[in-house]
Symmetry: C2
Subunit: 154 residues, 2 copies
């Protein structure tokens, strides 16, 4: 995991369809060497997969909200129950004012309400607190430490 690997990841985050020849040229390597680097990054699990970035608004998911969920006892199936709701994009266990935090993307406030109803139907849920997003400044990929403009922290 050196600087070249970090540059490769950064470049692939921008455009994963880039030809290996161009990718190699950008980091001072041949196409074959770039290919080998990427193969190993996949092997190590650093690169999970290549995917497409979808515009939520164009896809009809213009309403974004974060929902903090209170509950008493979490049974094993809570994660699966949340995953069964397609509008829920992320689900985390948190330390703080609530027990869970989920990210919800809905097509309307009406649908958001419906998602909340489905969340309430999950065993153990006693309450929710919803934070509606008015405007999104940016949403970007994971930043890999060591890539440009880092203050040198470890």
């Amino acid at each position: 995991m050196d600087d070249v690997d970090r540059m490769i990841i950064s470049l692939l985050q921008e455009d994963a369809a880039r030809p290996y020849a161009a990718l190699g040229a950008a980091v001072g390597l041949s196409a074959g060497a770039a290919h080998e680097r990427v193969r190993k990054l996949r092997e190590r699990g650093l690169i999970r997969r290549t995917t497409v970035d979808i515009d939520p608004v164009a896809a009809g998911r213009g309403v974004l909200a974060y929902v903090m969920i209170d509950g008493k006892t979490w049974m094993g199936g809570t994660g699966e129950a949340l995953a069964a709701v397609p509008e829920i994009e992320e689900a985390h266990v948190i330390a703080g004012p609530a027990s869970l935090l989920v990210k919800v993307r809905a097509s309307s406030t009406r649908e958001l309400q419906d998602v909340l109803r489905r969340v309430f139907e999950i065993d153990g849920v006693t309450g929710t607190q919803t934070v509606v997003v008015l405007e999104t400044f940016f949403e970007r990929g994971v930043h890999v430490p060591g890539t440009s403009s880092d203050s040198g922290h470890k």
Copy 2:
């Protein structure tokens, strides 16, 4: 934007490196037709770009937190000031107990503390409230309405 387009998006979200021939076969189309569909989805802005999914833990970003930020006056440059902090992955204006909500990924709690310090240095910030994530159930892409397991809501 029909069912075929939705299936294509769903398939590409799983694996964008899939050959057009395979993609077409999966939705009952030829390679050329699949290519044309994808081209138009890009043209319409529905597919923003193809990128790689990075494992945050493997990348040395094992600590995830959401930070709610309080402030009085937001000048135009607030979004840029937040974007300048590479550890901040998302930044939103919210309606609720605070003014802004940002998603932070750090390598350690020590670095998280440093990120909070940098947030405080931004003009107008008067306070923060941090929610640390203990465990992540899942993080997935935008779900496109109409794709499988939808209860038929609009």
